[in-house]
Symmetry: C2
Subunit: 378 residues, 2 copies
């Protein structure tokens, strides 16, 4: 079997997700839990039905809270270190579904401080520019402006500083080193930063649910260790697998490998060329052979992207799968279908992103939740 | 010779201040420098004339800046961990003299965050209460409300967070460990804190002067290492000796030894009783012997307090010295003289402290400098 490695900073190799569950000590999202979520939400999101979101912590307690009408809230974030790619949008799309179905508040932390601290060449002005750009992309996903608060760490720090200190006081350098891989060469800002990341899980005296890729799970270990001693709930989480890079079913789509990613700014021609050039194919080396033996959808990146994000319709997905496997659908046709889906998605995204320039203030300062949050001091 | 030890956290033994200068790598305040300060200020403060302020870094450059009309500013702070004692007021009185003579801005940092992080049992509410109480005591020293900005770290953090991050990014955990004695058991808030302490030295693009006791010198080493790379001046400093505790000429007056300190809240009876009971005397064991052999003013705490703070008149101080040494002045009389001075000082202080309730807003939010500072974002 191929080796693999997953840390909050890197994913490589062909990932065995069952092993990850054991390694991280999380729980598999069971058929029973899916059924409970489906009943509560009125439907099951394809990412849950298809096990793209596959692991969790305390999601059963979140459903309990919902059933008891105690409510819960959502929390996610974005490090503004550059432009965003499709891999960034996938968990956000799932988060939007959760907000739509459960009508809950959502807090989106823009970690300008952490990105400035962690990236050597990064200037403060860059983090501010990317923050603005990224917020537009996030709003374009379609969150509810009345129930969503998007905040930059550097702006909101005054409201949360005492709470951040209370968290920091409970966390030693050795714990931070163990969880985040810090060393004595780490700068003193970065070693403090984990306390800010925990703050939003305490924004309400309800359970917090964090939807994210599984590699982010370690970040919440400290939260779950100290939450109760500060009078809050341990945060819950739902973990997704990774969106595979174009290059194949190893690792994850990452900003550091340009050919592996589709950027939200890529135009139709670029998308087509990238998919054709780089998208790893599960097809055979000649059309004849493919027609005869069929392709392998399990390793075909184009099919996998369809399954994860671009083909929500189960019947159509099944058809793609079966026709590809039988050899009826060629790799080039699969790529063309994906290209069309990505391009119409990106076109719609960019339109919504332009509209976001008008609504940004609602999310950051003037919407119902944002107004409430700026009046709060923790 | 007795051993001694001085760190930012503790002072013990009979301190050899010349050795401290060598150990810390600072400079002695020379007669020439005193003359330059005297010419610039129009007079020499007794604490300088009597070598209570005895060491410095770059004070010659501060006088240069003054002579070239480039100006400079002052910075000091207070950790609000409890009530204040007389030892806390001594450097503030000197700082007030500097502000009066040089008409310069003064920034006073109230480190509520650091005290919360460093003291295990300390609740956030305590730090807020003591901050308010301590600010009243500080204002009572008589600073110029138009040129003074007193700020709580937790309140002003939003204005300075990006600058704090820039400082933090330049400081590794190993540097912080070396300078501040942190270990892996230190909490992640405290290890970040030094970056906040450096921020006010960058409040103006002028030289900064920090008057403090010599034990605080290590705190500014990181500042002097990184200031120029961020486009600012290395901070200058003037260092005082310690106000000896009542118990004798060892260590320094400290909040942790109650009998060693006179609190600003002590009433006349308490002061009298403390001085009589605890003030270490340089006199002889009987009146007869004292009359015959005389006392030793060098180890007499009451005389030393007169010299450091309570008798600014050189002639009167000389008379106290000579009469005590000759045996004409008894220890009880020296104590009575000091008691009278302390009590009239404290009475005046408490009156000014009551008045400070009316003016506190000028220092923290509404005065000319405070208004300017709240509009600034670093």
């Amino acid at each position: 079997m191929a080796d693999f490695s997953v840390t909050p900073w890197e994913a490589s190799g062909v990932i065995d997700y069952d092993k990850l569950i054991a390694q991280f000590g999380t729980k598999k999202i069971s058929p029973l839990l899916k059924e409970r979520i489906s009943r509560a939400a009125g439907e099951l999101h394809p990412m849950l039905a298809r096990d793209y979101f596959f692991s969790h912590r305390d999601m059963d307690l979140i459903v309990d809270s919902h059933e008891k009408k105690e409510g819960f809230f959502l929390y996610t974030g974005r490090g503004p270190s550059g432009q965003m790619h499709i891999g960034h949008l996938v968990p956000l799309a799932f988060t939007k579904w959760l907000q739509d179905k459960f009508k809950c508040n959502l807090y989106i932390q823009i970690t300008d401080d952490e990105k400035f601290l962690v990236k050597q060449g990064m200037q403060w002005e860059d983090t501010q520019k990317y923050s603005h750009e990224n917020i537009l992309d996030i709003i374009a996903v379609g969150f509810d402006p009345k129930r969503t608060f998007i905040f930059k760490d550097s702006e909101y720090v005054r409201n949360i500083y005492p709470l951040m200190l209370a968290i920091a006081k409970k966390t030693t350098l050795s714990t931070a080193k163990a969880v985040f891989g810090f060393t004595d060469s780490t700068n003193i800002g970065l070693s403090f930063y984990p306390s800010y990341q925990i703050v939003p899980t305490f924004f309400e005296k309800k359970r917090c649910l964090i939807p994210s890729a599984i590699d982010q799970d370690p970040y919440w270990r400290i939260q779950r260790d100290i939450a109760q001693s500060l009078g809050y709930f341990k945060t819950a989480a739902m973990h997704s697998k990774f969106l595979p890079p174009l290059s194949g079913m190893e690792g994850k789509m990452s900003s550091s490998v340009a050919q592996g990613a589709i950027w939200l700014t890529d135009d139709a021609k670029e998308v087509k060329s990238k998919i054709n050039k780089y998208a790893f194919s599960g097809g055979k080396s000649s059309i004849e052979e493919h027609r005869k033996l069929g392709g392998n959808p399990e390793i075909d990146v184009s099919y996998q992207w369809m399954k994860i994000f671009f083909e929500p319709d189960n019947k159509k997905l099944q058809a793609l799968h079966d026709e590809y496997k039988s050899g009826k659908l060629l790799s080039g046709e699969m790529k063309a279908a994906l290209t069309e889906r990505i391009n119409s998605f990106l076109q719609a995204h960019r339109e919504k992103r332009e509209e976001a320039r008008e609504t940004i203030k609602e999310f950051t300062h003037e919407g119902a939740l944002a107004t409430q949050m700026w009046e709060k001091h923790f």
